[in-house]
């Protein structure tokens, strides 16, 4: 095997290790699903993972960074995690797989592209992740974690979380 091919293989292995780390607050999705893990590059035997936080004050950032370091270490790399703030994370970076995992977990995935200008009192219709009904109500703009809002379904009566757009 050529040196370049070995390098590619190692990079892929480092990516696989880091990308398997799950979000401690939303454990149904990995940090790759969420788009938080931007890239992993190798410099010698050091694997550098680039991570972008979801919210300015996201309390899970440190836990995620430590978990990435641990995963890379276990895979035999000398780990380094770099926090990348620009461009800022947006819910548009959640992969399609991530979106369906969220839904299966009972969290309605973000519905509209972020960055669209939201007017005050603008309400988007969110489908219930359990019964697909569009007859839902926003309970609160803020939920159990920074990234979620609280909704309720008026048909199946279940409360649910909505992964809000940002």
């Amino acid at each position: 095997m050529s040196v370049a091919a070995k390098q590619d293989l190692s990079t892929a292995r480092a990516w696989a290790a880091a990308s398997a780390v799950v979000d401690p607050e939303v454990p149904c999705v990995t940090i790759a699903d969420l788009g938080i893990l931007r890239s992993v590059e190798l410099q010698g035997d050091t694997a550098i993972a680039h991570v972008t936080p979801t919210y300015s004050g996201c309390p899970a950032v440190l836990a995620i960074e430590l978990a990435v370091e641990a995963a890379l270490l276990e895979a035999g790399f000398n780990p380094r995690v770099e926090r990348v703030l620009s461009p800022p994370w947006t819910t548009d970076w959640i992969t399609e797989e991530g979106q369906s995992k969220l839904k299966a977990y009972g969290i309605a995935p973000p519905v509209k592209a972020s960055g669209s200008k939201r007017a005050l009192f603008d309400d988007t219709v969110i489908a219930c992740p359990r019964c697909e009904s569009h007859n839902t109500q926003k309970v609160s703009e803020f939920g159990s974690t920074a990234c979620k809002a609280q909704y309720r379904c008026c048909d199946c009566s279940e409360p649910f979380d909505y992964f809000k757009c940002i």
Partner: protein, 257 residues
């Protein structure tokens, strides 16, 4: 590079600290609501908003601490300065009062910061530009949430409307200071490091008027605007706030989680 007026200079540090202090102190005030909000949903909302503000403050303190002339750590800056060294505007240190006061203060602040962060996306300071993109979006949630409450309370019961009017009378005199241009900020504006708040004033006023019209509130005349925070002159309540904010680092110097 070590020129007083350019990147990393004393004025840059001073102006960034004023901005960081606004976020730290308002975040601390909001966190005081944790466990005391009028309903469960708000008990989640208020600490969530506090977390946004504390995250923004922390990013700003970390940025200042990384500037070569600073010589202090992020924790020193947040927890170990004396009252006169904090340069936050007075509005953010005002006691929470009732829910109407807290929501109105949040609306006033967020309606200013959202466009101000947006303007920072053109800063010549790379770190600030990176932070601004995220913070601007977070603040638009605060505007929406606080704005909805101001309307709901102003257009609510006799009691809630009365409380909302009281909040406006008490807090409006503190809004002028949001637009104050201190000497360090002036230098930063000239160097493109921080935006000029002046162009934000008219749209800010228009947004507040729009929300007030839905809430049956009017903007009061303010003969004597309150100011002094940007020069380190604070209200009596600030000392009490700091004694709580700084307690752990004062009692257990250098402690970490």
């Amino acid at each position: 590079m070590t020129n007083n007026q350019s990147y990393g200079g004393a004025d840059h540090i001073e102006a960034l600290l004023a901005l960081a202090d606004d976020h730290l102190i308002l975040g601390h005030r909001l966190s005081e609501w944790c466990g005391h909000a009028p309903m469960l949903e708000e008990d989640l909302s208020l600490p969530n908003m506090a977390l946004d503000l504390l995250g923004q403050a922390r990013n700003l303190f970390a940025h200042v601490a990384n500037l070569e002339n600073c010589g202090k750590s992020e924790d020193d800056l947040a927890y170990l300065r004396s009252d006169r060294e904090y340069k936050n505007c007075l509005m953010v240190e005002r006691p929470n009062g009732d829910f109407a006061h807290t929501m109105l203060r949040q609306l006033y602040f967020a309606a200013f910061m959202q466009p101000y962060w947006q303007a920072m996306e053109d800063s010549t300071d790379d770190t600030l530009r990176a932070l601004a993109g995220k913070a601007e979006k977070e603040m638009s949630y605060h505007i929406r949430h606080a704005g909805e409450w101001v309307v709901r309370l102003g257009d609510g019961t006799e009691e809630s409307a009365h409380r909302m009017v009281n909040a406006v009378v008490a807090l409006h005199p503190y809004t002028d200071e949001l637009f104050e241009i201190s000497a360090p900020l002036q230098n930063c504006i000239e160097h493109g490091l921080l935006p000029d708040p002046t162009p934000i004033r008219a749209p800010w006023q228009a947004m507040i008027e729009d929300i007030f019209s839905q809430a049956y509130l009017t903007i009061p005349d303010v003969p004597f605007p309150q100011e002094g925070g940007r020069h380190g002159r604070h209200t009596e309540d600030f000392g009490h706030l700091l004694s709580e904010l700084q307690y752990m680092q004062r009692a257990y110097p250098g402690m970490a989680w």
